[in-house]
């Protein structure tokens, strides 16, 4: 029996559920490694080489390199985890959040000071939602993390 997932239609939102945790396990644990100063320095010195130490998909590495946070959400990385990347880059959570909305930090801050994004905005967001990438794409073919290929034989 499939899991009940009644939350898929909240606009502009990715719920970090079982599929996301499975898909993003190693990518999230990479983020955790950035809690240590020496790892932050190693990552910033050669991002590609540091990412290659982690058994994650090429798409996930690309999204980290591009700092494409909305893509990271789709690929199973939770905001509290890639938040470690904000700190590594020396940007505030506010700036990171703003970038996911397509707003400048200044415009986002002004929105928050005037009371935040209103619930009525859900209607606009729903019409702007792009279809989610099929989750099975990751983990097939050359992009597959080695660990996952091995386990599935």
């Amino acid at each position: 029996m499939a899991l009940d997932k009644p939350y898929g239609d909240i606009p502009g939102t990715t719920v970090f559920d079982a599929d996301m945790a499975r898909l993003g396990f190693h990518a999230n644990q990479f983020c955790m490694s950035l809690m240590k100063s020496e790892n932050r320095q190693r990552f910033l010195a050669d991002e590609r080489a540091y990412l290659d130490e982690w058994p994650m998909a090429e798409e996930q590495k690309r999204a980290f390199l591009d700092r494409d946070y909305n893509r990271l959400l789709e690929l199973g990385v939770n905001v509290y985890y890639f938040g470690k990347l904000f700190f590594t880059d020396g940007i505030s959570f506010e700036k990171g959040a703003a970038s996911m909305t397509g707003m400048t930090q200044e415009a986002y801050r002004a929105m928050m000071i005037s009371g935040g994004r209103r619930p009525e905005d859900d209607v606009r967001l729903a019409s702007a939602d792009r279809p989610r990438s099929p989750r099975h794409r990751l983990g097939q073919g050359a992009d597959a993390p080695a660990e996952r290929r091995d386990r599935r034989g």
């Binding site: 939350y7 719920v15 935040g116």
Partner: protein, 288 residues
């Protein structure tokens, strides 16, 4: 309520407190910016609270919070974790530990609660050597400002609200009742406050980031005081839809409410938007 002479004293739940635990609030306090224009209205709402707790200082705070991928990551995801350690270090969340005192535990009470509520079918995870992040330290800052040492013992109680699903509102409320029964039967002359932290409406992720629902927050505050049963009937989906994906943290406030009497007196309420990305709410409730 003291027992008659000769009887053994038991612990008492005297009050419940709720507040948000936004990390930027901690940074504002640590950097001496609490009086700045952006932060002053938020901290002003805690002036009453700091006077109140100085007069009604508990011995122990049972502090419900969530860890933010700090002590727990995807390697270990306890739904409910009770801190049973002697003390807790302040976590380095990526920019160095907050310059606040270490947190001293109440292990006798914590181990006792663990056993009592597991016997009531709430399966807690016991943790001892664990660093505490802003989820726990920002509430202490809001209530006690910047002391050399925290004036209370703390039982940290961490709830998973990051990896779906968090425990339901109903489950949290019933757990709070079980925790209350445990505290009420603990043989020690202790005043205990139960704090519920996190929320209120906010969303940190995706195109919907910045979501705030002031109408929902106001209804939630009213219902938490007068009709918590109504809040138990809301699903996790209701919370995410109406309070934002990270606003689901509000289920933690139901643990606090479950630990209080059915009838409570609202001593103080404060609400402010924004603290960074979040609506900040704060209540002080005393048992009636």
């Amino acid at each position: 309520m003291r027992p008659p002479n000769g009887a053994t004293a038991v612990a008492r739940v005297t009050a419940g407190v709720t507040m948000s635990h936004v990390p930027a609030i901690g940074a504002a306090s640590d950097l001496g910016k609490a009086g700045d224009g952006y932060w002053q209205p938020l901290f002003a709402g805690f002036e009453f609270s700091r006077r109140w707790i100085a007069q009604r200082k508990p011995d122990v705070i049972f502090l419900v919070y969530n860890d933010h991928a700090t002590a727990f990551d995807l390697n270990l995801i306890p739904t409910f974790a009770i801190g049973c350690g002697d003390e807790y270090e302040i976590a380095d969340e990526g920019w160095g530990p907050r310059p606040v005192p270490k947190v001293v535990g109440a292990p006798d009470l914590a181990w006792y609660i663990r056993q009592a509520v597991i016997q009531e079918d709430f399966d807690l995870t016991a943790v001892s050597n664990v660093a505490v992040d802003h989820g726990l330290t920002v509430p202490l800052t809001l209530m006690f400002d910047r002391p050399d040492a925290w004036p209370v013992l703390v039982v940290p109680f961490a709830v998973n609200v990051i990896v779906y699903p968090p425990p339901s509102a109903r489950r949290c409320f019933e757990l709070g009742k079980a925790i209350r029964r445990a505290i009420d039967s603990f043989e020690a002359d202790l005043d205990v406050q139960v704090w519920g932290t996190g929320g209120m409406s906010h969303q940190l992720q995706g195109p919907r980031a910045g979501f705030i629902n002031q109408e929902f927050d106001a209804r939630f505050l009213d219902a938490l005081v007068e009709d918590p049963e109504h809040l138990c009937q809301l699903s996790l989906l209701d919370y995410m839809r109406q309070a934002g994906s990270e606003g689901v943290e509000l289920v933690m406030w139901l643990i606090m409410r479950g630990a209080l009497n059915d009838q409570v007196t609202e001593l103080h309420r404060h609400y402010h938007v924004p603290a960074s990305n979040t609506a900040v709410g704060h209540l002080i409730l005393e048992n009636r």
